[in-house]
């Protein structure tokens, strides 16, 4: 089966993206953002519009139909920073200094006056039909430059420019990698609950640049990225045969994973991207299998007359956490990647599902069902330290941001007495349990999966 899908052009451009480090002062890190305590006092930050010369503005408008590219990029940065809950971007109306002069040499007293502690300035121009962007991060109170970076890319990548700037700023101020130049793959939903139409969709982490990868002719579920973000594995009901598929985003080529005589589901990639791990259901029994994508060898990992599903590898590939009802109810288990040493780790009250290993390796996020409520939570890999982050009527399937700081999941609403009013949306929440936010999607959405950083 081959199907033409959306071609990922951005990934090609990524290779041409040049990052030049101009100057970097690390000695005066007076501003620090503590990301372990949630959003108690977000850091006031001024994001000045990026300055631009007239000639560049005219050319950008010709290519992108955007009037003021400098303002637009700064808006991307501002929105990203605001969404973290750690920063408080100040209103631009209060800015006293013009963007070009501020970028050249900020008058720190002006920025102090509006209570900005950090300032981001920049310049954008067109050089040989490419977008050249430079930006600086300033410590207002210490009156010092903290970071200055310039890079060149194709003009259509302008939103990514904003995301990359945010990643660099976030990393400089928090000491941790960002998660802004990333994408989310998810299932776009429409139609009544009994006849839901579902399509694979991919978008930037902030909800822009949505592309649909399937047409909605068949039911599709649970898409997940490979480590390089070029492949997706998911479940499709193509020809009414529920099977795990592999989709190459760049070529649009899809193929069934393995040759199983029944339903395969719950797929994920191994951390090295070489294997797909999934469940295979046969005669009322679901077990976990892997398939090597190079030599197509299929290996059975669990062999138990219970439902074993939702497998997820540890980042080093040596362990697998999964979901099993071998104790009578859905609980979370951890085993070695060859299937040995199976240990139950969830012992709290209620049912536990969809375990997913943190990219940092120290935590497992899960869905918990207890007394008619659904929770998203995290526990350590031995099951200790369980923390429930959010409670609702129905929500499930957490997926980690690449830096292991934020979880994205989906939440469905209750229908009314007439069976109407149903909706499904994506939400995100900090590991701290703070900063719960709806993730913007054009349609209803479910089954989100976060990519790794596209540029690094």
């Amino acid at each position: 089966m081959q199907e033409k899908c959306w071609k990922d052009e951005n990934l090609k451009f990524l290779k041409t993206l040049i990052i030049l480090l101009l100057i970097q002062f690390k000695a005066y890190a007076l501003i620090e953002v503590d990301i372990t305590r949630g959003n108690l006092s977000p850091l006031p930050v001024a994001v000045s519009p990026l300055a631009s010369d007239k000639k560049s503005l005219v050319e950008v408008e010709k290519i992108l139909k955007i009037k003021d590219i400098g303002s637009e990029i700064s808006l991307v940065v501002e929105n990203n920073l605001k969404q973290t809950g750690l920063f408080n971007p100040l209103t631009k109306d209060a800015f006293l200094q013009k963007p070009d002069i501020a970028h050249f040499k900020p008058r720190f007293e002006d920025w102090k006056l509006i209570k900005a502690q950090a300032l981001i300035t920049g310049k954008v121009e067109i050089i040989n039909e490419n977008l050249r962007v430079e930006f600086r991060l300033w410590d207002v109170l210490a009156a010092k430059e903290m970071l200055a970076i310039a890079f060149t890319t194709v003009p259509t990548n302008w939103r990514r420019v904003g995301h990359i700037i945010t990643d660099k700023v976030y990393e400089r101020l928090t000491g941790e990698k960002g998660y802004f130049d990333t994408r989310i793959i998810y299932v776009a939903e429409e139609g009544p609950k009994t006849k839901r139409i579902k399509k694979l969709a991919i978008m930037d982490q902030d909800g822009f640049n949505v592309k649909y990868l399937t047409l909605g002719n068949e039911l599709v579920l649970t898409p997940r990225f490979n480590p390089t973000n070029q492949m997706i594995t998911y479940l499709s009901y193509f020809r009414n045969l529920p099977r795990v598929y592999l989709l190459d985003i760049e070529t649009g080529i899809q193929e069934v994973v393995g040759d199983f005589p029944g339903m395969t589901f719950a797929p994920r990639f191994s951390p090295d991207g070489k294997k797909i791990i999934m469940s295979f259901a046969s005669d009322g029994n679901s077990d976990i299998y892997t398939m090597d994508l190079e030599n197509r060898i299929v290996e059975r990992i669990t062999n138990h007359p219970s439902i074993d599903t939702s497998p997820s590898y540890s980042p080093n590939g040596r362990y697998i956490c999964f979901n099993s009802d071998r104790s009578g109810y859905q609980q979370i288990y951890v085993m070695k990647s060859d299937g040995s040493n199976v240990k139950r780790i969830s012992f709290g009250r209620g049912l536990y599902g969809t375990p997913v290993w943190s990219p940092r390796g120290d935590l497992i996020a899960f869905t918990k069902l207890h007394k008619g409520k659904f929770y998203i939570g995290v526990m350590r890999i031995d099951g200790s330290g369980e923390r429930l982050l959010t409670e609702n009527f129905y929500q499930e399937a957490p997926s980690w941001s690449p830096n292991g700081r934020v979880l994205v999941f989906y939440r469905e609403t209750k229908t009314d007495e007439k069976g109407e009013g149903f909706s499904a949306k994506l939400w995100s929440i900090d590991l701290t349990g703070y900063n719960e936010r709806q993730v913007r999607t054009k349609t209803d959405a479910s089954d989100p999966s976060w990519s790794s950083l596209l540029s690094n």
């Binding site: 609950k193 719950a266 469940s279 007359p305 009802d325 859905q330 129905y394 209750k414 069976g419």
Partner: protein
């Protein structure tokens, strides 16, 4: 029957016992009296018929794949009808309600449809005439978010395939 299956069935019966004991204290009065027994749907709202007097579906308790007395009765009728109409093949569609995680519910739907398949086979229907598909919670018949709606959605439906 493989050893696995025997083990599983024994296991399920044990679990069912535990659940029934657990529920006895908490769920005495259902507002939907007459349409549910425990939390298994016993009404006929959504039921269609494969032939006169042959209901097309059986219902399950939450998280369960055990066939109730009533379900077994329905399946015996289906088996009789299938034996009389030997050219007909069927698909058993297993479903779950919305109160579970998506992937687990896919497995649960498969387990439910197979429970119905095993019973039909016991009553003389050849395995080659039965295929099984799970929709998990993807195809509810009732879009409500209440115990009665959920009970209608926990089902295995026998559908003519030819």
């Amino acid at each position: 029957m493989t050893l696995n299956k025997i083990l599983r069935n024994t296991f399920l019966v044990l679990v069912a016992g535990l659940i029934l004991t657990a529920c006895a204290t908490t769920k005495k009065v259902e507002t939907t009296a007459g349409q549910m027994q425990g939390d298994v749907y016993t009404g006929t709202d959504t039921v269609e018929y494969l032939a006169s007097g042959v209901p097309d579906r059986v219902f399950f308790a939450t998280n369960e794949s055990i066939l109730t007395t009533r379900s077994r009765e329905t399946l015996r009728k289906q088996a009789t009808w299938l034996r009389e109409n030997s050219e007909i093949t069927v698909v058993l569609e297993g479903h779950a309600d919305e109160r579970g995680t998506r992937e687990y519910n896919l497995a649960l739907g498969e387990r439910r449809a197979n429970a119905a398949k095993d019973y039909l086979m016991t009553y003389g229907v050849s395995a080659s005439r039965i295929s099984v598909i799970s929709y998990g919670k993807e195809r509810p018949v009732d879009s409500g978010s209440n115990p009665l709606s959920w009970s209608k959605n926990r089902r295995s439906v026998t559908v003519k395939a030819n």
